[in-house]
Symmetry: C2
Subunit: 200 residues, 2 copies
DNA sequence: CGCAAGCTTGACTCATATCAATACAAGTGG
DNA sequence: CCACTTGTATTGATATGAGTCAAGCTTGCG
């Protein structure tokens, strides 16, 4: 079976997707962000990854913009050498299909993110983002309303195509309006229904 | 082998990705746009597809937002029932790998598009878009500098997260500055190097 | 403790959207 | 072939959402 091995764990450690693509990674614990950067140095946070999710799916086919993953807290991953996946895949078509499904799911998420980045107002972006996190935590068996944001305001802002200040202001306003309570990284969704209405 | 069959061809015909996902499609001739829509009716053009490209990869895994594809001109596709692909894939791992690679390539493109939508100015967006089209035509053996835009200004604007008027103005300005010439749908890139510098 | 990094809040600016008017292009039918 | 309609594109004037700049505040860590 997959000779799993657990990789770098420190806060802010970087998990580079190497020059020559070799492996996929599954998050085992903690969380990661992935970014791509433009020639001029600007960066875009393309996603956040939680336990059970794959990192590196976009690197199977190589392209000009490569992604970098950074852990947001003390985290572990399981490395899956791609060569090995291919070998196993020959015996177990089910594995290939599983991979395809994961890729397709990420693709589908990314399309939704395009809608968010291209068409939503800042309020809608934040509401959508909070609910998307909520859903992911819920799927993992955690509380859908009370959780920790492992990413900084800056990461959130960048991911949603906003300025940090805008994120800060909107979270404050959401709190004033009783939609959420938030203190630092600890957030609690108080009026999920109203947040949903805000998603646009 | 794949019992290929050719589907709807008329201008503006719609190629719905059905309730129950059944097939992938490869564009055979012409071009398509794909869109997703928010609950309030707003739409985002998530991509344009040219001959040889797959439509429907994001539907393998089903999600709340489903995509719709519309042809931009008289077009044909080749339908690939997913069940069949899976069957064949069992015998030919190479096919699965090909599919994975295609999916990964689209994922990679989408990440770049996030960078565009989230971080680029309108000038940079247009320049990036024009060069991306150029590259795709070149890869297909057509001119990299002279081609037809099969999509409307509105589709371009929507795809790039801009207003139609903004697209119109910028194209006019690019022309004034000698970067391109454009008349209706016929465009010619005159200063590729300068356009590249504009991409940010 | 004290510095550095991250976060919040306010005042002001600007890029791009919106609104409005006109022009152009492609069909359609008489 | 020409008027008419309809959709699409351009151009100008104005408004505004969110960014930028600036200042203070909070948190966590050496």
């Amino acid at each position: 079976m997959a000779a799993e091995y657990t990789l770098s764990t420190d806060r802010h450690s970087r998990l580079n997707e190497q020059e020559s693509f070799k492996s996929l990674y599954i998050v085992r614990s903690g969380s990661f962000k992935t970014t791509i950067s433009a020639s001029n140095g600007r960066e875009q946070v393309t996603g956040f990854y939680f336990p059970g999710e794959f990192i590196g799916l976009d690197a199977i086919h190589h392209q000009s913009y490569r992604s970098t993953a950074k852990s947001l807290e003390s985290s572990t991953v399981c490395e899956l050498p791609y060569k090995m996946l291919q070998e196993i895949g020959k015996e177990m078509p089910q594995l290939q299909i599983q991979l395809l499904t994961r890729l397709s799911k990420e693709l589908s998420n990314d399309k939704s993110l395009m809608l968010l980045l291209g068409k939503k107002t800042s309020d809608e972006k934040l509401a959508t983002y909070l609910l998307s996190l909520s859903k992911r935590f819920k799927d993992r068996g955690f509380s859908a309303t009370d959780f920790q944001l492992s990413m900084s305001r800056g990461d959130i802002a960048n991911h949603l195509g906003l300025a940090v200040e805008t994120v800060s202001r909107i979270l404050s306003r959401f709190q004033e309006n009783g939609l959420i309570t938030i203190a630092g990284k600890v957030i609690s969704l108080k009026q999920v229904k109203n947040l949903e209405d805000l998603c646009g």
